[in-house]
């Protein structure tokens, strides 16, 4: 029953989206307010229909209705309820449903929160949102219908991929998609602005919270993915520069550029066509991500549901949406108003540099990710591009970016007031040099010392910019405190985000230089040593659980008289012929240690991998600080309404 209901709702939603894509557009061209208002209602109706359809699919999974092929393939009646529900999006069809539900959600939020926007702009944005939606709805209905029935229905389902039965991964896609799809709002408004032939401060200021929202969710999504890969794959990589990771990272980089350039547009009326181009590019990179993950054009650890024929359809959707938007851009970009010149030594100058370097970084990741494909297409050779390439290219660009990041907030808009800049730069240089020299002496790597110095410099620059805003030292402390309370949310957001980058950079650097590991074959009772820890293999057990057989190892890690027990398991799932390794972790603020056992037998011994990872959790804390900062900044308007600013 649910399946038919969901299917019908989806078909109606497709019809509504077609109307929504056309009617408001005509209305805006004719300035017919009734036709434009239709778009608002259609957007909400479309969301209600798609949400109902998604709910119906969820009910199919909850009820374990295996007469529906998707549930039969991906669910199992014995599975815990949580994983029955998250199993809805643990496969291609269901995840497309999640994607389209979120797209419709954002589409519905435009009329709800955009009442104050010019009617024609809103109508056009809603229509563009529907065009993208119609494309994906058509794709789902024609090639990836999740509601197909199976006859005869199997007695039970085939279960979820064991590697996906994990809280980290269950909640990684929804956040990632909220980010990916959230950027569709920026896309729709960019295209709408091109059709209108104008962008202005209203456009920029209205759009910024939506960019922040999408960006923050994407940050959380990427972070969850990184945490998951770290503990699930069991060899301690928190970022592998894998194609699937890279394609989620590129919209993040472009989105970071966008949320800064939109600030310049909203305040200084500069960088208008650039911002629109970024709005288009960010969402397009999200679409590229969808294309890569589902088409299998690149080899990845994470790719799932790979199918080149789906790739063709997604590529066609990409061609239509991005190709259309960029054609429009080519025709209309010249008309976009707001061309105040940007002076290099000013806050907008710093932000422009931030944008250029972020675009250079995005292009580098893009090039590294797709270069093997280019080479494969144009010649008979095959190459690989891995971590060493990105360490040599991407990392220096980001460090250079941080150099500008530390100083730009000290500058005023238009570079009016440069008092104190010289003193700041002197102090910053001292901080940088002393931290670098100190780390170079303690550590063993010059580049790592520079990176740590730069992280310290960024933290200092962020605090200095805050101090400048509070006029510390110029006015009595009490007044500074009043100023502190009066700071708008965006300033808090800025402070938190930039400190997050500093924390992240420092932690990532420490991890690359001071992490240690040891792999050896040991028998029960034997030990290996890593970074002062003694890892002893205490016991090995093997056995059988519900749907897998296991080999588990109990390992003690001892240092300075303190002992922790780590449990590692190798599991074999016969149904899927899948072998997974569960490492035993002990997380800590200063260091995380973990151990994993590999194959072996009692006679020869077992492979034991022991890892010491200093400060690794700060990588994710830094990233989550950035995400939190995005949410804080979103509430800027309301806070400013209450607190009076000087």
């Amino acid at each position: 029953m649910f399946a038919e209901f969901g299917h019908v709702a989806l078909i109606i939603a497709f019809g509504v989206s077609l109307l929504q894509a056309g009617v408001p557009m005509v209305g805006a061209a004719r300035t017919d307010s009734r036709l434009m208002a239709f778009g608002d209602r259609a957007a909400i109706a479309q969301f209600v229909l798609i949400a109902a359809s998604f709910l119906a699919l969820t009910m199919v999974f909850i009820a374990s209705d295996f007469s529906v092929e998707l549930a039969a393939k991906n669910s199992h009646s014995d599975k815990p309820m949580l994983y029955k529900i998250t199993g809805v999006w643990g496969n291609h069809e269901g995840s497309m449903m999640l994607w389209i539900t979120m797209l419709a959600l954002f589409g519905a939020l435009i009329p709800i929160f955009g009442k104050a926007l010019p009617a024609s702009l809103r109508a056009r944005a809603v229509a563009v949102q529907a065009m993208v939606g119609a494309g994906f709805l058509g794709f789902i209905l024609l090639t990836s219908n999740p509601f197909l029935r199976l006859d005869p229905a199997p007695i039970n389902g085939l279960g979820l991929n064991p590697i996906l039965q994990d809280p980290g991964l269950a909640f990684h896609p929804p956040f990632l998609y909220l980010g990916y799809v959230g950027f569709s709002v920026a896309f729709s408004f960019s295209v709408a602005a091109l059709i209108e032939g104008r962008v202005d401060a209203i456009w920029a200021r209205w759009l910024r919270p939506w960019v922040l929202l999408a960006w923050s969710f994407l940050t959380i999504g990427i972070t969850l993915g990184s945490v998951w890969a770290y503990y699930e794959l069991g060899w301690g990589g928190w970022w592998m520069w894998d194609p699937v990771e890279n394609v989620s990272f590129m919209p993040w980089l472009a989105g970071t550029a966008l949320l800064h350039s939109i600030m310049v547009l909203g305040t200084r009326h500069s960088m208008a066509s650039w911002t629109v181009l970024l709005g288009i590019s960010t969402f397009s990179l999200s679409l590229v991500g969808t294309f890569v993950v589902r088409s299998g054009v690149l080899v990845s650890v994470h790719a799932f549901a790979v199918d080149p024929s789906r790739g063709v359809v997604i590529l066609a959707l990409l061609m239509a949406s991005t190709g259309g938007a960029l054609t429009l851009y080519a025709l209309r970009a010249g008309q976009l108003r707001g061309r105040e010149p940007v002076s290099p030594v000013s806050r907008e100058g710093g932000l422009a540099m931030n944008n250029l370097l972020l675009v250079a970084a995005t292009a580098t990741v893009f090039l590294g990710t797709f270069y093997p494909l280019f080479i494969d297409v144009i010649s008979a050779s095959q190459i690989s591009v891995g971590k060493p390439y990105f360490d040599l290219t991407f990392a220096p660009i980001m460090l250079l970016l941080i150099v500008f990041m530390g100083a730009a907030p000290m500058l005023d808009w238009q570079g009016k007031n440069r008092v104190g800049l010289k003193r700041f730069l002197q102090q910053a240089a001292i901080i940088f040099i002393s931290v670098s020299v100190l780390s170079a002496v303690i550590g063993k790597s010059v580049s790592a010392a520079i990176a740590l110095g730069i992280a310290a410099y960024l933290a200092y620059g962020t605090f200095a910019a805050m101090a400048k805003k509070l006029r510390v030292g110029q006015v009595p402390a009490a007044h500074s405190l009043t100023l502190l309370r009066a700071q708008p949310a965006a300033v808090w957001g800025f402070c938190l985000a930039h400190l997050g980058v500093a924390v992240f950079t420092a932690a990532a650097t420490i991890m690359t230089v001071w992490a240690d590991e040891e792999i050896s074959r040991v028998k029960v009772g034997e030990s290996i040593e890593t970074a002062g820890y003694t890892f002893t293999l205490l016991a090995i057990n093997s056995g059988q659980r519900e749907n897998y057989s296991f080999l588990s190892g109990e390992i003690t890690a001892r240092k300075d008289g303190k002992t922790v027990i780590l449990k590692s398991e190798r599991r074999f799932y016969p149904v899927r012929e899948m072998l997974t390794t569960e490492a035993g972790f002990k997380y800590g603020g200063r260091a995380t240690i973990f151990a994993a056992i590999g194959d072996g037998d009692a006679e020869k011994g077992f492979i034991l991998r022991a890892y010491y990872h200093p400060f690794v959790i700060w990588i994710w804390i830094g990233a989550l600080m950035m995400a939190l900062a995005g949410f804080v900044s979103m509430f800027d308007k309301r806070l400013r309404g209450k607190g009076g600013e000087s």
């Binding site: 209203i202 540099m353 190459i383």
Partner: protein, 147 residues
């Protein structure tokens, strides 16, 4: 002649060092080499990280060759002969990777050169402030704004 002697001396001492290479050094260098070699049967992992049996054998071969006194580069070159450029996680700088290696550098230089370029181009800044109608709209949209 002098530089040649120095190079020869350094080279010879390096070889001498390899002859009685300690197990620890082998281990350390095997990790270094392992991190730069792609596990050819896996999906995008280095042999150092992979659980695959072939990766384990490749790791062993790397250790054997290092213990035999081969340099890191020689070991990497050996693997490259068998599996091609595909096995190198760090692509070699050569004809078909010039774009890959030079583009990031070019983009950064372009970015850094931007102030100079844009400074010259913009001769007539067109400042178009908001019209009063637009200012009204902005006010209505955002209630209270100043920053």
């Amino acid at each position: 002649m002098r530089p040649v002697f120095i190079i020869a001396a350094v080279w010879l001492s390096a070889c001498a060092a390899f002859a009685d290479i300690t197990a620890e050094e082998v281990e350390l260098r095997a990790h270094e080499v392992g991190k730069s070699l792609r596990c050819v049967v896996c999906q995008n992992q280095s042999i150092d990280e992979s659980d695959a049996p072939l990766a384990a054998d490749m790791r062993r071969l790397v250790r054997v060759q290092i213990a035999d006194g081969k340099t890191n580069q020689e070991v990497i070159d050996f693997m490259r002969v068998q599996y091609g450029d595909y096995v190198l996680l760090k692509p070699p700088v050569q004809g078909n990777t010039l774009v890959l290696w030079l583009a990031p550098l070019g983009l950064v230089l372009l970015a850094l050169g931007w102030p100079a370029i844009s400074g010259r181009k913009r001769i007539d800044p067109q400042v178009e402030p908001l019209t009063s109608e637009e200012a009204g709209q902005l006010k209505k949209a955002l209630k209270d704004e100043n920053s």
